[in-house]
Symmetry: C2
Subunit: 456 residues, 2 copies
């Protein structure tokens, strides 16, 4: 019985910690749902600034706007920019395409893939070979592919509950379709849009030519899923029909851009840094509200919520809006380069880059012990319907970041609707639900609070 | 050590049961995401038939369509209708309303609340008293309320993560605002729409006059949230401004309608009945895709998935599409009346009436032991991101149903976006995500499979 008093003290201390955490989470979610700024920030980024492709006027305006907002917030000890040279790819004139079946022309919605070269000025007109995989190119070989347009038409597999798995699996067609097809003398590439839905939006995204010289590159476009189904159906009727497309995209010289950083100095261990961020650049077909305006304003909201609940972090918190995730990843690389140069010690990095949908949990990149530690907070999150803590990738922008004991996490919102909008002309502010966005911000804030308080 | 062999056998038996359940759930979700009909059924209900207010042509068409679909499916042993007399409320001409501030007229979007009486033909023009609660009427009293239009303007509380709590709390204004206001000589009632969003859609829904005779009833309308904010703001500037509204809704005599029922006879205990359903009627401002076309087609899909995976239920399964949930509940009452008359034994009843959004779990209405039993299936659902099993209400249509050991459950989809569409002009098919709808159907099927197999 002698040890009981100690046990009681210890238990009641734990009880206090838990209940104090409960209270803090309650305050965090309350602030986010009643007093947040993230939705109006995103409104401005999306509806006033618009798209933010690296090197564009929009990207530069977004840098200035978010920096000014962070400065005006009174939340940060320091707001600053990190210079980073970024690639500048320009779409040029709106693309056009049609299926030519005998004398019948049927227009279909396409867009150039990011990084693609242009077609010749008069466009490309050629017969089409439909394939379902990169591997099929080998089987068909040069004899069947030379002089043709290759049409990659493997849909995203609907059977994965986690939509990102389907995206990853079908994504090789977009990422490598052009690079692989040109080896067989193909003239161009059409890729089925990476979305589950049947609609008329072509979805862009980067294609990668590797080290193929510019003069050998062939143009690549995405076709909407309805367009892809139509083309496939018409090819069955007439395998020698032709496809025409024209695009005038081009690459300019790299230009100067910036990561935007707001820093709250830690009260007890300022040398330990916690990063929370999203990427400020977006594709150019819409506002990039989900990808990744949402992640940027949620990251800014983390600091805003801390201010509103009067929480002073022990460790230094950095809100980082990375530039150029979509077509280069230069912002993430630059952040790491400078962190290393300055001998910084990062203990935790969180990224939100999966849309502003209702949050479900986090994927954790660290040791098993890190995952166990973070999962031990699970019961605190359950009142907010956050329940999924799994091992997995943190995020593209924080991928280059290294530090001896660094743990990374990615916010995992519900994934079902993400690819309805991803890289397409409908990734707009009206596709954002204010509460879902705010719940994501609160969930990010809650985990950062817990890690800042209890360590990792 | 002697007991070990038994333990091993027992464990491996459990292991087998668990793994066979795992396989069945995998098959269920797979079928739902790759081979379901619910989305196309809902497309027809929403886009070809349209609204299905009780007593309307649409409601009758929906009865015939779903009956024909169930018959054609080859899934059921029996498909039949249950006759039920339903109230017929008709909106009449489109409502109109404006704020009259001196000579300035500002039009605002309103709609009559369901069950409301009409205004006089020329409309009502009167001063407005803004209140935040029913209780405030008492405080103000007859002196301040007679001859006035009462404007109920308490917003839904954004701080609840569970949106239905906010709906329940703010809902008394819509449900009882007219009945309470007429006691003080008010001429009419305006109710702020029950939604979190700021937009221009008025949200209808039933108002209840209790036993007040028709000649004493006063007209009640919903105003869009933007309209409510504008009116409130203008009232602050000019408390004696006037509000005008006109509506020509009316109640006709009850008409004959139907519950639609498809039945699969149980293979071993056919006398035990499991019900799964939604309500076929909807409000009249849109298609009622979320409320509750979704619940109907998901319930039909349960039977379709069982057919596709070759599962023959032990107990009798009834898919029930209830009529008249929105403004009477007559279908649910009739179902119970006949169940009782026929001495039927219902063991489980599930309702889907919270929108076709991504499913999160179930609310369970039963004993603690029932909740524990159903919660014991939780680990089987986790791969599908279903995690919330809580005590709570099953659903309005299954509320009247009684049987000695009956357990009820309501599908609980994510609630954040439900009130963006609920009872409003934007509750349309384009607000439905195919995968979210299908995941809901799979989740319902999975729980019914588990209860049918393991008992409750």
């Amino acid at each position: 019985m002698k040890k009981l008093p100690f046990l009681l003290v210890f238990t009641s201390f734990l009880g206090f910690a838990q209940s104090s955490d409960e209270e803090q989470l309650k305050a965090i979610y309350h602030q986010s749902l009643t007093n947040s700024k993230c939705y109006s920030w995103l409104d401005y980024l999306s509806n006033t600034i618009g798209h933010r492709l690296s090197g564009s006027v929009g990207a530069e305006k977004a840098v200035q706007y978010t920096k000014a907002q962070m400065e005006a917030s009174g939340t940060f000890d320091k707001v600053y920019l990190q210079e980073v040279m970024v690639p500048k790819w320009v779409r040029g004139e709106k693309e056009s395409a049609y299926i030519l079946d005998g004398k019948k022309k049927v227009a279909v919605p396409i867009c150039a893939l990011g990084g693609s070269v242009a077609t010749p000025k008069k466009g490309i007109l050629a017969e089409v070979v439909e394939v379902k995989s990169l591997k099929e190119l080998e089987t068909l070989g040069e004899a069947k592919l030379t002089g043709k347009i290759i049409f990659f038409n493997r849909p995203m597999n609907p059977e994965n509950v986690q939509a990102f798995l389907s995206y990853r699996d079908a994504g090789d067609q977009r990422r490598s379709g052009a690079k692989e097809s040109l080896k067989y003398g193909a003239l161009g590439v059409i890729v089925r849009s990476l979305t589950f839905t049947l609609d008329d939006f072509p979805h862009t995204g980067n294609t990668n030519y590797g080290d193929v010289s510019i003069d050998k590159r062939i143009p690549a476009c995405a076709i909407s899923t309805n367009g892809a189904n139509l083309l496939s159906q018409m090819l069955k009727q007439n395998p020698t029909l032709k496809f025409y497309f024209k695009q005038s995209c081009y690459q300019e010289a790299d230009v100067l851009s910036h990561n935007v950083i707001g820093e709250i100095k830690g009260t007890s261990t300022p040398e330990n840094i916690i990063v929370v961020g999203g990427h400020l650049d977006s594709w150019d077909l819409a506002d990039g509200s989900h990808d990744d305006g949402a992640g940027c304003v949620q990251s800014m909201e983390v600091a805003n919520i801390f201010k509103n609940i009067g929480y002073k972090p022990k460790n230094t918190i950095r809100v980082v809006l990375f530039m150029n995730e979509e077509n280069g990843g230069r912002g993430g690389d630059k952040y790491q380069e400078l962190a290393q140069k300055n001998n910084e010690n990062h203990i935790f990095a969180m990224e939100s880059d999966s849309g502003g949908f209702v949050p479900r949990g986090f994927s954790i990149e660290g040791t098993d012990a890190n995952l166990a530690k973070i999962s031990s907070f699970k019961n605190l999150f359950e009142p907010y319907f956050i329940h999924s803590f799994t091992a997995g990738h943190g995020g593209s922008d924080i991928e280059p970041l290294t530090s001896p004991k660094l743990v990374k996490a990615g916010l995992r919102p519900d994934s079902q609707r993400y690819f309805d909008y991803h890289h397409a002309g409908n990734d707009k502010f009206d596709a954002i639900n204010k509460r879902e966005l705010e719940l994501g911000a609160a969930t990010m804030t809650a985990l950062i609070y817990l890690i800042d308080t209890h360590g990792i």
